[in-house]
Amino acid sequence: MKMTMLKVLGTSALLSAMSVSSASATECIAPANPGGGWDFTCRQIGNILYEIKAVDAPVRVTNMAGGGGGVAFAHVASERSTDADLIVAASSATTTRLAQNAFAGLTADMVRFVGAIGADPGVIVVAKDSPLKNLSDMVEAIKADPGSVAFAGGSAVGGFDHMKPLQVMKAAGFNDITKIKYIGVDGGADAITQTIGGFTQAMTGDMSEIVGFIRSGDVRALAVLTEERVPGFEDIPTAREQGFDVVAVNWRGLYVPKDISDADFNMWAERLQKVADSDQWKAAMTENGLAPFTKVGGDFQSWVDGVIADTVVLSKEIGVIQ
């Protein structure tokens, strides 16, 4: 009883503290512990927003870890749905999890996706001595014997890295995608080690994860999954120009609460556009291996809806969701 009282008191104190501060300053929730990609998004965007005077006061960053972003998502959807001074860091992982119902029944329409201002391009790489010379070689090898090419990636089964080769194979007209071998390891570097060591035949991941290994010559990129070739890596062909229409990028962006006014939503879209155009953000992108990828406002929301719909279809096919 006493415990419950204390909890209630604590919660209301916390909430009142939040509402007081949110009246004066923007809050950015990073749905993970300090140090990861979401934390980076909040801190960079927050700093730049203040530096370019898009907001009046420094942006406060709150880390709200748990549930792979689900705790923060639930918090925003249920308790902060009208807070116009709240932004939340998001990425492809957010939409993948929403599509796969990994947030305990919460759905993507409980928030509004306001924009992405950078992306880590998806890549498929092989060891330098691999017999696979281009994406067609890989596709043909899998068509001939699906077990002959095992992929390693930094995300779990059904996660974003797993989806990339599946999308390529689907684009090539191969529909038996459950036959494709994939193991999820601890991050891209680990996936590359497995590939160089010959335990898997190819690695699927993000550009930022492979930059060091591409430069050292240990791996060869078969394709980058962007619309255009990536600046600085012009010698890596896109999947699209090799005849497989797949674009998969790990975008970095924000969502905002659902019930804010359209004016507020558009204001955030404009602010985000300003950040995207700033020199500070361009420098931050180069430092962190991100490629330009700016989609804001209504455009971004409809693009996200499309991505989620595609992910649902693929996830059902590989049996990650029913």
């Binding site: 909890k7 512990n33 095992a150 779990a156 089964v157 570097a189 680990d190 335990f199 898997t200």
Partner: protein, 504 residues
């Protein structure tokens, strides 16, 4: 030379005034933590991790601070062993055997100096060993696939359970508990939730820092409540301190032998510092001519285990940094720190983050020199601190535990979970079930399960894949031997008498 240029890089980061200050604070706090009975290195480091996060340290600063605490605790453990006959931490247990008798004979100062120097020799040489061996070990990265990792984790559980504890069954039970707790959360291979009861706080699994602080620090508070803080008065007078060159010269052989044995014990995944000091003591006794004087205040009986446990502390960092497999309870806690900092230890750490590795190594060297200075001329300061009554200390520990965890996760659920782990730790200690295998299980459980299932994916379900390479086969054999052999060896290698607390 590669190593020299790397070291230069390390020192260029470690020698900044800020990092030096952190190392100094870490050494000082660590020595206190080590010296205070009950607050061992695992507890101390576990307690400080959340705090160092809430202070907003970057990866290198946090690592330097906490590894300094780790090394400091290894030095500090001997102080209460010698003066109180209570080991400040578990690895310092062997030091009580000859340290306390020396102190009773009025040689407390000599014992403290010898053990301080022995600690320095052990830790310093082990750090050099780390420098030489770690990059070499890091090169084997490409030979490790899922099957090899699975066998390696198996080896870690076996050696920890087999050699690090007194009862195989109980440590196996503890490891299973840890593995069970690790299953909580979203299963990475199927995205299904397991044991989460639709509670979103459990989706990510149990945070290992919550478990560690609960199992180590909070359970310590419960133990204290039960004992009403007995056994904290200093029974031995400490006279003037001077450096006994003659005794140091006599014990230098013991220090070197202890270092060698301890270092090798430390490298064994899962074995750790307690085994290092134990083997160093037993080994020293076996080669000496005056076996009877051991246990009655033989300086070599102080030098060997102290060199051994500090060398093991350094050695234990090798499997932790290069393979991601901790060699002891404290390195398990440090592994948790690295993971929380988004640094994945493993073979790639040395190529990906040379700044982290080499500044860590450089600060270990610096910390060692600092610790020698602190622990020989300034040892009296720590003796004074030892007199802090437990009723001040333990509430402080409780407060730091709660504030630390809350500032890290910001969730009241995790604080309740921490208390639950505290109760679990208390019950386990009452039942003589070691808690370190539980931590190891929570830390390695998911990785171990994933490797096992990855191996099955790659081999189309062929179980012989686990035994398909010489590396994995040798891990399996070493693991089984490490678990079973101590049962038989115990008959021949009787442990020396456990230290008892004198009532007078």
């Amino acid at each position: 030379m590669d190593i020299l240029s790397n070291l230069e890089l390390g020192f260029s980061i470690a020698l900044s005034p800020y990092t030096l200050m952190l190392a100094f604070i870490g050494c000082f706090v660590g020595t206190i933590i080590g010296a205070l009975p009950g607050l061992g290195p695992s507890n101390g480091v576990a307690l400080l991790i959340p705090i160092s996060f809430s202070m907003g340290f970057d990866a290198i600063s946090a690592l330097v601070l906490l590894t300094s605490v780790y090394y400091g605790a290894m030095y500090g453990g001997r102080i209460s062993s010698i003066l109180l006959n209570i080991p400040g931490d578990e690895p310092a247990m062997m030091t009580t055997l000859d340290g306390y008798p020396m102190a009773k004979q009025g040689l407390a100062g000599e014992a403290l100096v010898i053990s301080g120097v022995a600690s320095f020799v052990g830790a310093f040489l082990a750090t050099v060993g780390l420098i030489l061996m770690a990059p070499w070990l890091a090169n084997v990265a490409y030979k490790f696939g899922p099957a090899e990792y699975f066998a390696l984790y198996f080896l870690a559980f076996c050696t920890l359970g087999g050699m690090g504890s007194k009862n195989q069954t109980k440590s196996a039970i503890a490891a299973c508990m840890g593995l069970g707790i690790a299953m909580v959360g979203v299963d990475e291979l199927t995205n299904m939730q397991r044991y989460t009861f639709d509670n979103m706080h459990l989706f990510d699994g149990v945070d290992f820092l919550v478990a560690i602080v609960g199992l180590f620090a909070v359970s310590e508070v419960f133990m204290f409540i039960e004992s009403h803080g007995k056994n904290s008065a200093i029974g031995v007078k400490l006279g003037r301190l001077f450096i006994p060159w003659k005794l140091l010269n006599q014990t230098k052989g013991a220090m070197l032998r202890g270092t060698g044995i301890g270092f090798l014990a430390g490298i064994l995944p899962g074995a750790g510092a307690s085994l290092g000091s134990f083997l160093a003591y037993v080994g020293e006794k076996a080669v000496s001519k005056d076996k009877d004087s051991f246990g009655k205040g033989n300086p070599r009986g102080v030098a060997a285990p102290e060199a051994g446990n500090n060398a093991a502390a350094g050695g234990a960092l090798i499997p932790m940094l290069t393979l991601g497999v901790p060699g002891s309870g404290t390195t398990a806690v440090l592994l948790a720190l690295l993971l929380t900092l988004n640094i994945t230890p493993g073979p790639l750490l040395f190529t990906d983050r040379p700044d982290v590795v080499w500044s860590l190594i450089a600060s270990l060297l610096i910390a060692n020199v600092m610790l020698l200075v602190m622990n020989v001329p300034m040892v009296k300061v720590f003796v004074k601190i030892l007199m802090v009554p437990s009723w001040v200390l333990l509430p402080g520990v409780t407060m730091i535990a709660f504030v630390g965890i809350f500032s890290l996760t910001g969730s009241s659920f995790d604080m309740l979970l921490m208390v639950a782990f505290g109760v679990l730790g208390y019950v386990c200690r009452k039942l003589d079930i070691p808690t370190v295998p539980i931590i190891l299980g929570i830390l390695l459980g998911n990785a171990m399960e994933n490797k096992m299932r990855q191996a099955m994916v790659l081999s189309d379900g062929d179980w012989t894949f686990y035994f398909s390479s010489p590396i994995s086969i040798s891990f399996w054999i070493a693991g089984i031997l490490g678990f079973v052999a101590p049962i038989f060896l115990r008959q021949y290698l009787k442990k020396p008498p456990q230290p008892t607390i004198d009532e007078d």
